[in-house]
Every structure is written in C-alpha cells, then in structure tokens.
C-alpha cells in the first residue's frame, strides 16, 4: 500500500536511481580517502576508460529523464487542469487591474489630488474621467468597474451605471453646434478625410493597446501561433489576433499633433469599430466624444495657429472654431454632477484613488475584517466583522468533527480488523454504503432525524423523557452540523484505521498479557501506539475535508453552524466578489499548510499510514 509521505519507496527491493546516487556518494567519499590502494592516485575508471563517477552520473541522468518522460503526461495534466486554475484563482485575491484598465487617464491624474483638502478633484480629472468613461460605456465595461468599486464604497455601482447612460449627452450643445454648422460634420467620409494620413501610428497603437486592456483582449502568444499553425494544417483558420486586426484607417501625424485629443478619441473610435463591430470608421459617423474632443482642441488653438494648419478641410475647422467660440466650453464637472451629484462626493473619489494601483491588499484586509482608511488599515465596525469569527468556528468545528470521528471510528475499525475475513468484509460494505448514497440525501436524512418534529424527538417524547413543549433543538445549529458531518466523514477515518490495524499481529497483545499486563495496559502500551499512524492519516483526511465543506453546513447549520466555505461559495456565485473569495480561499489554504507543517513537526509525517 502506498504511503502519504514522500520519502520515496522504501519497501521495494529493486535498485532505484536513488540507490545509485548513494553509491556514487559513497564512491566520492572513497576518492577523498587516499588510503585505499592503487586507485588513490586517480579517479576510478569504468571499463571504457571514462571516470566511473561520470559514467554513473550519465546512466543516472538517462534513467531520471526516462522516469520524467513517463510521468510527464500526468504532470502536465495536473499542471494544466489543476495547479494553473488554482493559481489563477488565488491570484485574483490581489489583482486589481480593472480600475487602471478601465480608467487609465483618470487614475493617472487623480493621483495628484489631495483628498484632505475636502475639495473634489479638478476639472482635468473630470475631463479624463469623461474620456475614459465614454469608451468604457461604449465597450460596456463600466458597470463591471462600478461593481468592483461598490465592494469598497456603497453606491458606486449605480453611480457608474447611471452616468454610463448619460455620458453620451455630455457637451450636447457643443456637438449640436458643430452638426448644425455644417452637414459635413455628420458624414463619416468627411471625418476620414479630415484625419487620414501618415505618421499617426503611435496614437493609434496606444489606442489599440488601451482598448485591448479595457476589453480584456489578450494578444496572441507564441503558443497561440503554434496552435493556429496546427489548425491551418486542417484547413481551419484562426480569428485574426486583436493586435493584427486591420483598422482600415491610418491617422495623419500632423493632425494628431495639432489636434491631440481629437486624434486620440478618433483612434479609439477606429479601434472600437474594427475590433468590436468588425467595421471601419468609414461606416459610421464618430461618436460624441470625438466632437467634444475637437471642441476642446479648437479652443486650445489660437486662430493664428489654426490658420497655419494646412491639412484637408482646414476651412471647415476654421469655421467650426468661430462657431464654437459662441457657445461656452464643456463643463465636465457640471455635467457629471448633473448626471449624479455623488460625483462631488469625496469618499467616492478617495475610493478611486486608493484602488488605482494594479495590485491591492484590499481583499485580504477585507478577509480579516479590516478595511483601508485614510489612516491606513483599520478594523471594521463591530457590526460588520464576520470572517474572523467564521475562521475560528471552522477550525474549532473541524477539530470537534475529527475527534468525534476518532472516537466513533476507532472501535469500528478494531472490530473490523479482528473479525474473521467473511464477516469483516460484510461489515466493510456497510461502512462503504454511505459512499454510494448522494451527499444531499444523507444530509436531508439527518434533517428528518434531528428536527423538532423529527424521529429522535418523537421517540424521546413518546418515551416520556422530554416534554412535548420542550423538544430538543438539534438542528440548524452547531450540533446539527457536527452530527451530520461526523456521519458523512466517518468512512475516511475508519478505512485508514482498519488497514493499519489489520497489520498488527494479534500475538503482540497476547504476548503483553502473558507477560502480566492488564487488558488496559496491553491496549494502551502495546496496541494503541501501533495504530497512531492510522489515526494520523484519518485525522488529516477528515480535517482537511471538513474545513472545505459547505453543502452540509448550509443545509443543517442554521446561523451558528455555517463555515467559512459558505461565505466563499456566496462570494463566488452570488455577490461575484471573486477577489474576496480568492483571498478567503488563500487564507484557508495557508492555514491548512501551517497545520500540516505543525503536524509534521509534532507527530512526524512519516508516521502517517494509509495502509500497512
């Protein structure tokens, strides 16, 4: 039978690579001791003349490679399907790129804002937010950010959703001025003519990169290229990678220089059309943000500077500048406040500022009942602390369940090990039977047994042990969880105990007794120590399974018998706060590893046997 420990095969008689290694080590020891005969002068040689050490090492390497090749399929399978997803999930506990990816310009400029002044950020921040939010709303990514920030500051979700709806109308007067002035401003072809040329590739590439980060489009890796080549052999084509999609548009360098905001907005529009809609800029008039950007640019230029511009449609631009001088510039701050006055709220902006960096400790702080405040991490209000309590409860109850399993499982395993084979096998089937029943059925059965109008209470009342009015409460609390989970996990304790006990010869006990030991001494001094490895293996299995359980506690746990895993499940499937779920999961994993390590130090992991 296999062992849990990793100290290598110890029962096999065949030589293993490790044996060879020990031999070489012994040989090299001998090299260092010149007293041993003729070979003392030079290294010991193999038959073909190479030093024995080298030739052994080579043989060893070949052997190791072969071993590695043999387990490679399994290793790769485990890595790809098990380790990588878990690592990816755990990584989410610190990942916070969504804020920067969605609001790249805003997060850059809001850093300069000092919340302690009590004033909302400057107009420049609102302008940056407008440009970020407009693109995000078109790509429908803004509510995701709202939801992310809502975990930290209540109200952000509707703030982003609501303003995402309104952001099209910001600067409406200025957009209309342009459109009323000249019908050409509403023509896609006119805009293409205005902006096309050579030399603006940098702006377009930056826009493409921004958009790909926003929409979570990853560029194709070398591995992807290989995969596509393989598909090509079977005449299947890959979609064009987002970084290679032809925009059908090339930006003029001079235009980009004179009208930087417009060029940026128009490049984003071009990227969006190509990557999202599969069209080009020639198919549609640009979105409002481009008009607003042009308005900004035209105001920034003096008439003389504009007069010097000699690109296509310069006359229309000059006319536009004159017309726009008649209307006030877009007041971004007013527009945001008009959409939702919470945009003036310092706390909302502080949240955006605090959560700008691509990585955050926020989820972990949350997972230990703390939060970020301007004065650094601090404990949450007492009425919001829950995770510390749940972690403690999970640990405590898992330990209680493990001990109940030992108490109940030990005698059963002993009987199994000491009965004749035929009866033992029959009993073993009874132990295994629950394994073939659905977990839900078993848990629900406990409901029927334990509830106040349930079987046990009915029997107690019938026997007159309990008054009808004061039936025992045995479910929807810790007791219910402990009973149901002990029952469910019992086989995991019995099986290792049984297989260890089976290997203990009965003659040991008889020998102890014949030497004068009492029954108890013979058991406690002779038998029990030999079963400790089985207890260890069973306890590790039961404990680790117990702390991760959530279906049973959910059904029979009520409010006092639920585990941390119930909150993890809630955050994964209901609140969708995967970052917090990952942080809680990581903490749970670390706790288990620490306990495992402590067990190894105290009992010794070599002392764990799943079988003889």
């Amino acid at each position: 039978m296999s062992r849990l420990s990793s100290s290598g095969p110890q029962t096999a008689d065949a030589p293993t690579p490790e044996d060879a290694f020990h031999e070489t080590a012994a040989l090299s020891d001998r090299d260092r001791e010149p007293r041993h005969g003729a070979a003392a002068d030079g290294p010991m040689l193999a038959a073909d003349g190479t030093p024995l050490k080298k030739s052994l090492a080579r043989a060893l390497r070949a052997q190791k490679l072969r071993a590695l090749a043999l387990i490679a399929p399994l290793l790769i399978f485990v890595l790809v399907t098990f380790i990588a997803p878990i690592a990816d999930m755990l990584f989410r506990s610190i990942e916070n790129q969504i804020v920067q990816d969605t609001l790249p310009r805003t997060t850059a400029v809001v850093q300069d804002w000092n919340p302690d002044t009590g004033e909302p950020p400057s107009e420049a921040v609102y302008e940056a937010l407008y440009r970020d939010l407009f693109l995000a709303a078109e790509a429908r990514r803004h509510t995701r950010l709202g939801q992310r920030l809502n975990y930290e500051e209540t109200g952000m979700s509707s703030l982003f959703r609501g303003t995402g709806r309104d952001v099209d109308d910001f600067g409406e007067a200025n957009v209309e001025t342009l459109e009323d002035l000249d019908d050409r401003w509403e023509e896609a072809a006119f805009w293409v003519e205005l902006t096309s040329g050579e030399g603006g590739e940098g702006v377009v590439d930056a826009a493409r990169e921004r958009y790909m980060r926003l929409a979570d489009l990853s560029s194709r890796s070398p591995l992807g290229d290989v995969w596509c080549a393989v598909k090509g052999v079977f005449a299947e084509t890959c979609d064009v990678a987002p970084e290679d999609v032809d925009l059908g548009f090339s930006l003029s360098g001079t235009f980009a220089e004179t009208f930087p905001r417009t060029a940026e907005a128009y490049a984003e529009f071009a990227v969006f059309m190509a990557l999202e809609e599969g069209e080009t800029v020639a198919d549609d008039e640009p979105w409002e943000a481009v008009y607003v950007a042009l308005d900004q640019d035209l105001r920034a230029l003096s008439p003389e500077e504009l007069a010097a511009y000699d690109g296509p449609n310069a006359d229309a631009l000059r006319a536009a500048q004159e017309a726009l001088a008649e209307v006030p510039p877009v007041d971004f701050r007013a527009a945001f406040l008009n959409s939702d006055e919470d945009w003036a709220d310092i706390d909302n902006w502080r949240t955006i500022q605090t959560y700008s960096p691509p990585y955050t400790t926020g989820y972990f702080l949350n997972a230990v009942d703390m939060q970020k405040t301007p004065e650094g991490p601090a404990l949450r209000d007492a009425d919001e602390r829950i995770y510390g309590l749940l972690f403690q409860r999970t640990m405590f109850m898992s330990l209680v369940i493990t001990f109940s399993c030992i108490l109940l499982g030990y005698p059963v395993a002993w009987i199994l090990a000491n009965l004749p084979m035929r009866q033992a096998n029959l009993l073993l089937i009874l132990v295994l039977l629950p394994f073939w029943t659905s977990l839900l059925v078993r848990t629900s059965a406990w409901k029927v047994m334990l509830q106040q109008q349930g079987v046990i209470n009915d029997v107690l009342v019938w026997l007159g042990l309990v008054a009808d009015e004061s039936r025992l409460i045995m479910i929807n609390n810790q007791f219910g969880t402990i009973v149901a989970m002990t029952h469910i996990l019992l086989p995991f304790m019995i099986l290792p105990l049984y297989s260890v006990m089976q290997t203990i010869p009965p003659s040991y006990l008889r020998a102890a007794k014949s030497l004068g030991a009492t029954n108890w001494t013979a058991f406690w001094r002779v038998y029990f120590p030999q079963t400790v490895p089985g207890i260890g293996a069973g306890s590790i299995l039961v404990f680790i399974l117990a702390i991760g359980y959530y279906i049973t506690p959910e059904i029979v746990g009520g409010t006092t018998g639920t585990f941390i895993s119930n909150r993890i499940a809630y955050h994964i499937s209901s609140s969708l706060n995967w970052g917090l779920a990952a942080a809680l999961g990581t903490i749970l994993l670390v706790v288990v590893l620490v306990l495992y390590w402590a067990y190894d130090k105290i009992v010794g992991i070599d002392n764990v046997k799943l079988g003889g």
């Binding site: 602390r385 409901k447 006092t560 969708l576």
Partner: protein, 379 residues
Amino acid sequence: MNLAKTLLASTALTVAAGAVAAQDMESPVAGEPMADSMTLVSWGGAYQASQQNAYVEPYLEMNPGVSATWDESSNEAVAKLRAMNEAGNITWDLVDVVAADAIRLCDEGLAMEVDHDEILKPAPDGTDASDDFGDLIVSDCYIPQIVYSTTFGYRTDMVPEGVSAPDDVCDVWDLETYPGKRSLERRPINNMEWALYCDGVAKDEIYDVLATEEGQDRALAKLDEIKDEVIWWSAGADTPQLLADGEIFMGSTYNGRLFSVIEEQDQPVGMMWDMQVFDLDGWIIPEGLEEEELNRVLDFLWFATDTQRLADQAKYISYGPARESSAPLVDKHAELGIEMGPHMPTDPDNAENTLLYNYEFWADYRDDIDAKFQAWLAQ
C-alpha cells in the same frame, strides 16, 4: 409605480376582441439555417417542468430532429456566464434568470440586447410585444416569462383557538398572538423591507430609510425581536418542507412553492398575500452565439413566449404570465383541474398590498447590507 399598474392591469380579465392574423405569423428567422440542438438553462424542479410542458415539448414536436438539453444552473448563471466568457467558450443558448441577474448580465455585455418587437410575436389582437410585456421589460436584454412573488404561508392547524388567521405581514412579528417558529430567507433582501414596514415605515419610504445606516440598524433591531424563533432558509424548498413537517408556524417562500404544498400535497397550509414582493423571471440570450445557434434560439423564443404559450405555463405552476394578453387565457390546472386565476400573485384580490423588488437599490446596497446582515446573523 408603473410596473405595479401593469401587473394589475395584466390580470384584468379583458377579453381581447377580434383576433388578428397575427397568430399565423412566422418567426423572423424562419427559413434560415438553424442548429438542431439547444442548451436551455433553468431552475430545475416544478418550474422547469412547467416550461418543459408548456412550450419546450410542443416546440420539439413541431420540429422533429431538434433536441433540447437542460442545464439546471440558473441560480449561479451570472457567475458561470462570466467564467464562460473569460474562457471564451459559451456553451449555453438560452438562460432563464431573475430580473436582477438579467440587468447585471446586460450591463456587463454578457447578455445580448434584443429588439422585443422584432423577435417576439405580437399579441393576438396585434399589440406589439413591447406593449404587451409593458414595463416588465426591465432591461434591453430581458424577455420576461412570469411574475412570481415571495410571500408567507402558515399552518392553519397551528393558529391558536379564538384567534383569526394571520393576514397581515406584521403578524410574523406578533409572537404573542401567533406563537411558533418562523422561517425567513438567509439574506437581507425582502426581510429588511418587511421589518421596516412593520416598524412603522411608510411603504414608499422603505428604501430611503434602508439606504441610511440608522435605517439598516432599525431593520435589524426589528428582526432581533423574532431572531430566536427564526429558522433561516437558503433553498426555496426549505419552507414548504418545514411547513409540511410542522416545524414552523409561518414562513416565507415563493408563491408557487406554497401553491404546491397547499393544492398538490394537500397540507393544512394557508396563504398570506399581504406585502408579497413581486419579482420576474425570464430569458436572456448569451452574447456571442454562432449564427445558426442564434437562429434556433430566436425561432424557439418566437414560439415559447407567445400569448398562448405563456398562458399554458400557468396550467402547471401558479406564476402569472408576463404578457398582458395571456391573463384572460389562464386556464385550469393541468392535473388538479382547479381554476388557476385566483392563485396568481397578480390576481387583484391577492395583490391588494404588494411591494416591488427594487433592482437599482439592491444593486448598490447588496454587498454592504449583506455584510451587516450576515454579521448580525452570526452574533
């Protein structure tokens, strides 16, 4: 609110006169190439069975060679769709979700925006689909099917002698007149509203109060009064089971579950419609389907959401059809043969005092209030 008006109006038994030829219209994708299988996602249980009986089976009969597979994952549809989207592999064709989830999915671009008038059949009298569904179309991606409500049921045999049966939601808090255990859902939604209402907050101010810290504390304090007597449920089947076993005196659950306890299982349980909370259930189409799959889904939807089919669904479960034009067609229960009209949550007699699930509010406050609620529960 408009929605409430539509809900009530949809039950007014106005028989649509002069059916137009709308009934014979073909789906907008008829004749296009279509996939011959689809994966439908729903809730399992009696609700999924009602869908299966009312329109999936008839559709499959009309289209031999087409197969439909069910995936009972609606309660975690948002999480799963998000994961599928991240992995770039959408395996679902049509997903049944509650309105709050539909709004979330639509916001995130995980559900497809649809033109209701284009893809849904008009009412028999020619009314456009968008008018027929009215305000129940709470999101551009959402195709509502039914209106359900969360409300209370109670054991009729546990009502103390000489006391009238409970008919006010605040009777849940009245432990003196109605002693016994209660069951409430293990989440703040609905419970907080009921608590504030019974603490004397006017119905139209509930959400304003609940938005404040004091209001939340006030709701929890009100819930504290009965906390020791409450069994908290997390699955819709819990309260019916607890009622049937006599574990509790009264408890909240979905009205369809109570219907099945009362009428199908014939248990001594009564309905308490006061302050029932309306919510919707309906379809969304995941974003990013292949064209042939999409055509199949659209063809199916055209049939499955027409006036007759939605009315048919009420033969199997006591949820109100989302189309106004379906209400007059609601018939008798398919097996029990009882008139289903009076069992609909939208029946005027049942809908005297109701509340609407406030999607906007809970989208904002759900995380915050849930944290408080769970901490309060664990204390």
